[in-house]
Homo-oligomer: 309 residues x 2
């Protein structure tokens, strides 16, 4: 079975881009053309609007982006209709050859962690038979509960050719509150201890590409920290957040890459899908906007990598 990291490298080479399109459904901010003529906002309408919006986005970015990153919070805010739309979106992504990274920052202890791993990466036990459920390519996981809480996901990655990105250093101002705290035991920040765990967990899942299927989520709003973590995790793929709406620059992002031009994927959500101007944009204008912003981001990152390399 092909490892997630190898599929990711293949997809990056094919599209010539490490830029992931974030899918954050915010129906009240979607263009009018996608909502008009739908009648009342029932559950079925909400599901269809979200699914149609994402199909249009993915028709546009397929071939230009290696993966999409649906943010589960924005699906979950529409209840089970939102989760149906998430299932629709995953299916549509696969049909378009886009890898799917489910961003839910899930975790828990013991058999509960196993249930999350089953839901997103593996199979659930239903009436004695096993079924794949969301079956995405990778998911995000939180580390605070300790190493043992992450093991079920690593096992699922090994068994099903999937990947995880473990939240390590986030892009928000408050990310320093706990993540940056220097530990007495090591004299180094907490995030470096977690980086060590990510390195160890990923050791057995390094593919032909030289990269592991276990990586960190790092906000590029702190370039020096990103560079330090890049050095600590040479074989990891970094899921880089904070580009675009959260203020990270292409130069900050460049610190997350290895000198081979690989080792990081960079997400942008709102700046790609919700910066179309006004809600009465036409479908053609919307598609043009998504395409232009996707290409511009790819070019900005490529230029920053050339400059830094």
């Amino acid at each position: 079975m092909q490892l997630f990291s190898d599929r990711l490298v293949e997809s990056i080479r094919k599209t010539g881009s490490p830029c992931v399109t974030g899918l954050d459904p915010r129906v009240h901010q979607m263009p009018a053309f996608i909502k008009s003529g739908r009648g009342a906002p029932t559950r079925a309408t909400v599901r269809a609007v979200i699914a149609d919006f994402h199909e249009l986005v993915m028709d546009t970015v397929a071939g230009l982006a290696p993966a999409v990153k649906p943010q589960l919070a924005f699906f979950e805010q529409y209840g089970s209709a939102g989760i149906q739309a998430f299932e629709d979106t995953v299916q549509a992504a696969k049909e378009r050859g886009l890898l799917v990274i489910a961003d839910g920052k899930r975790n828990d202890v013991d058999s509960t962690a196993e249930a999350y791993a089953a839901a997103f990466l593996g199979e659930a036990d239903i009436f004695g038979g096993k079924q794949k459920i969301f079956d995405v390519d990778a998911m995000t996981v939180t580390p605070y509960l300790g190493r043992d809480s992450m093991v079920p996901y690593v096992d699922a990655c090994r068994q099903h050719g999937k990947g995880i990105f473990i939240v390590l250093k986030t892009s928000n101002p408050g990310s320093g509150d706990y993540q940056d705290q220097v530990l007495e035991a090591t004299g180094r920040p907490l995030y470096e201890s977690i980086a060590q765990t990510i390195h160890d967990l990923g050791d057995g899942l390094v593919g032909e590409s030289g990269y592991s299927s276990i990586g960190p989520v790092i906000g590029a709003t702190f370039p020096d920290t990103a560079a330090r973590l890049r050095a600590l995790l040479p074989r990891a793929f970094i899921l880089v957040t904070g580009y675009g709406a959260q203020g990270a620059s292409a130069e900050g992002v460049a610190a997350c890459f290895n000198t081979d031009g690989l080792g990081a994927i960079v997400n942008s959500s709102r700046a790609i899908t919700y910066s179309f101007g006004n809600e009465n944009v036409s479908k053609a204008e919307f598609v043009h906007s998504v395409r232009e912003k996707t290409l511009r981001m790819r070019d900005e990152i490529a230029a920053a990598l050339t400059a830094s390399g």
Copy 2:
């Protein structure tokens, strides 16, 4: 508007119990009588089995338990059908006067945290109008992303009379990996810094009962730590985990209570709902088992509180 903490105290006084019934749907482990005659395990069947199982559990514990704690991982493992069953379960709990604590250990930064808060505690923006979605009484939240990531939930608690339980010290062996690390800045474990944040965030949400709607999740498998955190968070309600299947004793749990006999609720899931013996148990035997185990747990905790008080 009545604060969550006051509603919780009222419910504990009415039922005479601080014991929360955990709802972890594991359909393959449910009794045969709840699954028989359903035909193939379609999405609709899975939804109905989970909803019916929980209705039966809640018919049994209503009046004996102040709240239920559905664990979202176990719903999510059945995809959107599982989330529909979660919605059914929340509705059925409300009809039976049971408070609902959604255990999903969610969090993210910025507007994504707001979306989770909207999904579970507040209202989502749909086509320009706002709608309540899951509308539970409280939810669990992870702290690793920092203080600012928790503020949207606190705001939602204030606005909608809801509560949150922030993951602080978990019951698993690996909970020491990061949570127990002593910080150079304070000379104290990380969990104490997070406890301070929980205390500060809860300050403005203390109700007539003297308790706040912002509390921690603490595993009772480490009684000394629990006692220390109890002292640091005098006005917080602690959601105590690890009782039953994870090995915490009633004596360990007692450390989480204040001398007024309040200040903690204790969850048990598998030990209440999945310890009915064999899968061919009758409906009457199943109900008897759930009832007996609910009463026994209540009595064990009460005895431990008497002994320690």
